[in-house]
């Protein structure tokens, strides 16, 4: 397939692997965090780690939109369908995330008795169309994701206003990438205890098409951490690793862009303007694993209050503690590996996820369970 196969080419991969092997200095090791779940997925699905030398280690970051969603936010979505009788529209992968009371959106759907419905949609526009087709029903779009999925949500809110729809609203849970990176760099494991050593970041692919590469310059300058923005294909990831190693070897810490075919320094200005028109910063937002982070998420501006499900319906966020044995928080901060969690693969599996990292295939635990756990079992065919 054009524009896909080129980025999964075996020969090129082996060439890159050899170059990484030559560049990595044997007397030291390298620990990089890939921020995005898309990178985590690519690394696991294509077995990129198998091609890296032993002294180059990848740490999975928190950039999986489903994984960082706290239980209380899923509870709000469930309450909208169960108590308020709305048609709740969600992207596919939040449906399985465990919520309070043993529920998830999928389990809630099976238990729905009143008039409410829970539907999977492929895009925000599908939710808007449902609202147009069901004028008698309240339709709520469960908007989650980093900066990539925010512009489409802004578009449907603007469209709903232009159409004068009275039965459409959005439960806004959009979060911001730079805030999450800052929180990791400020976490005690990284700053004080040094138990997590991060030598550099693979920067987001799709997020950066929207926000550009400029927001990461602060991290490179302030924290002296190299950042290389990379696409989601396995060769992108490998090229980025090579570029990070080169920066470290030469003592540089700058933002470089491996994903130049899609990302510019400024990003998508039109999308940024649209997002700024519809959304504003929340003063604080609870992230799973990272806790309450100031100015880390978006809410709908007062001018669009009619389309804000948090104002239209009597629901509010209630913090719910994670399962006590679940290590998702530490996994999301890079402080633990999935296989270090006591319940990984025993109590917590993709069929019965306890923590959110086991839900989406982008989650660090699910990726390791589904693609990489043969390495723990030490089976050699």
């Amino acid at each position: 397939m054009k524009f896909i196969d080129e980025f999964r080419d075996r020969e090129l991969a082996h060439g890159l692997a050899a170059a990484i092997g030559r560049a990595a200095q044997p007397q030291r090791d390298y620990q990089f965090m890939e921020f995005c779940g898309g990178h985590t997925h690519a690394i696991a699905r294509y077995g990129v780690s198998d091609l890296l030398p032993a002294n180059v280690r990848m740490i999975h970051g928190p950039g999986c939109p489903v994984c960082v969603l706290p239980i209380g936010r899923i509870d709000m979505a469930i309450r909208l369908a169960m108590d308020e009788g709305v048609i709740l529209c969600s992207y596919g992968d939040p449906l399985r995330v465990p919520a309070s009371g043993g529920l998830s959106l999928l389990r809630a759907r099976a238990a729905l008795a009143g008039g409410g419905e829970i539907r999977m949609v492929y895009c925000a526009a599908d939710a808007l169309r449902l609202a147009q087709e069901n004028a008698q029903r309240q339709v709520v779009f469960f908007a989650i994701g980093f900066e990539t999925t925010t512009p489409p949500t802004a578009v449907v809110i603007r469209q709903a206003r232009a159409l004068g729809l009275r039965n459409f609203s959005v439960l806004c849970c959009h979060v911001l990438t730079p805030a999450a990176i800052a929180s990791i760099l400020e976490s005690p494991e990284v700053r004080q205890w040094g138990s997590v050593r991060l030598d550099g970041f693979i920067g987001p692919a799709h997020v950066s098409t929207i926000i550009g590469s400029r927001p990461y310059e602060f991290f490179a300058a302030e924290y002296r951490k190299p950042v290389v923005i990379a696409g989601f294909e396995p060769l992108d990831v490998m090229q980025a690793i090579l570029m990070l190693i080169a920066q470290l070897n030469s003592g540089r810490a700058v933002v470089e862009n491996e994903f130049a075919r899609a990302v510019t320094r400024e990003g998508n200005r039109k999308a940024q303007r649209m997002v700024a028109e519809v959304f504003e910063l929340r003063r604080s937002f609870a992230w799973r694993g990272l806790g309450e982070l100031p100015y880390s998420a978006l809410r709908i501006r007062r001018e669009f209050a009619d389309y804000d499900a948090e104002r239209r319906f009597p629901i509010s966020y209630q913090a719910v503690p994670d399962h006590p044995a679940c290590e998702c928080g530490a996994v999301l901060r890079g402080a633990r590996r999935p296989q270090d969690c006591r319940i990984f693969g025993s109590v917590c599996t993709p069929e019965n996820p306890v923590g959110s990292c086991m839900v989406s295939s982008e989650g660090a635990c699910a990726a390791h369970y589904s693609f990489g756990r043969f390495a723990d079992a030490k089976v050699a065919p």
Binding site: M1, I4, R8, D9, R10, A13, H14, A17, C36, G37, G38, H41, A44, R45, Y46, G47, V48, S49, D50, L51, C64, P65, V66, Y91, G92, D93, L95, R96, L106, M120, Y122, I144, G145, F146, T148, T149, H206, P234, L235, T349, P350, E351, S360, S361, E362, Y369, S370, F371, G372, R373, F374, A377, V379, P381
Partner: protein
């Protein structure tokens, strides 16, 4: 003299008519539906037609019986419909045991209000599929549920076949060293359904692979290859079926990603939705596990059959107490090919 009355006053209205509750009530309306819509299409040549059960001659060998319920949505999709699917699916379940399928039984659950024209189209398609496969539908049943309590039509089919003594294909017979063969491009049925359901324009030319496999299987048997397991990778796709076999046989498997045949449009649609074709359903493909020494012979026999022109050797079986199915990736790395967990859900990012 009183003229002989026709059985029913007016024929069924196959243009505008709809399924009504009375069509399932056991009275004259039901008899008319069965006569005019079902028997006229599926045939009633078998002795015992009109009775509560079909009476059929017993065949030599061992009986193989399989049953399968079909609930597909949409009912009509590129390359087929629920009718031919319900015939082919059950024929395949019988055939992969190494058996020759002989008869089918069909149960219909109809939703009140379902257009009779659509029902006739579905039964026509079943009749065609059954005739093409040479496996008649010999008995059946219909029930009607109230509007809103069904999904148009559900069809359950049961297949009966015979397998010769000594023919022993079974999921627990994969042995270390065996070769794994797939009969053609994977994921076509599932992506045809999904493209239709989600109106994905660029995937509109993906056609379901639904087909009866017993002809191909007969050709495989005739090749004389030492076949250990044959299975059709329907729900859960190739990945899930191989995991089932690995667990049954207590072995591991290693696939080669570069050898797994996937049509470009299927690969593109899967990329678009963030799905993995290894987990997408097939309705006219089979997986065969064969002694390595016979793999080439079997492959040649399969490729000579129109349903398996793109058959490919995709991997091998090895010893592994953990029963992992693994894959060496195109890139040169390694990964687990796990059971499907839950439904495959499209990814956000």
């Amino acid at each position: 003299m009183i003229p002989v009355r026709k059985a029913y006053g007016r024929p069924l209205d196959l243009r505008q008519g709809r399924v009504e509750m009375m069509h399932g009530s056991g009275g004259r309306a039901m008899a008319q539906l069965i006569d005019e819509l079902f028997l006229s299409r599926l045939g009633n040549a078998h002795p015992g037609a009109g009775n509560d059960a079909a009476v059929l001659p017993a065949a030599a060998g061992r009986l193989v019986v399989s049953t399968d319920s079909h609930v597909v949505s949409p009912l009509f999709f590129p390359g087929g419909d629920i009718g031919c699917l319900s015939v082919n699916g059950t024929i395949n379940d019988v055939a992969v045991m190494g058996a020759t399928p002989l008869y089918l039984a069909a149960g219909f659950i109809l939703e009140e209000g379902f257009p009779l024209a659509d029902l006739a189209r579905i039964v026509d398609s079943m009749a065609q599929a059954a005739a093409a496969a040479g496996v008649p539908v010999v008995t059946g049943d219909t029930k009607v549920v109230q509007r809103g309590r069904g999904d148009g039509v559900y069809i359950t089919t049961t297949g009966v076949g015979v397998v010769a003594d000594g023919e022993d294909w079974s999921g627990d017979r994969a042995r270390p060293g065996d070769s794994i063969i797939v009969s053609g491009g994977i994921g076509e049925h599932g992506m045809a359904i999904m493209a239709q359901r989600e109106s994905i324009g660029f995937a509109a030319d993906i056609v379901s692979d639904t087909a009866p496999l017993h002809g191909l299987i007969a050709a495989m048997r005739a090749s004389g290859a030492d076949i250990h397991v044959v299975r059709d990778p329907t729900r859960g796709g190739v990945a899930t079926t191989l995991n089932e076999i690995a667990r049954q046989s207590r072995v591991g498997m290693m696939l080669r990603e570069s050898e797994v045949p996937v049509q470009p449009q299927v690969a593109a649609a899967c990329e678009f939705l963030g799905l993995d074709p290894l987990y997408v359903a097939n309705e006219g493909r089979l997986l065969a596990i064969v002694a390595a020494a016979d793999a080439e012979r079997l492959l040649a026999a399969m490729r000579a059959h129109p349903l398996a022109r793109h058959a490919a050797l995709i991997g091998s079986v090895h010893q592994d107490a953990q029963c992992f199915v693994q894959m060496s990736t195109k890139l040169g790395g390694r990964r687990v090919v796990d059971w499907l967990s839950g439904d495959q859900l499209p990814r956000i990012c």
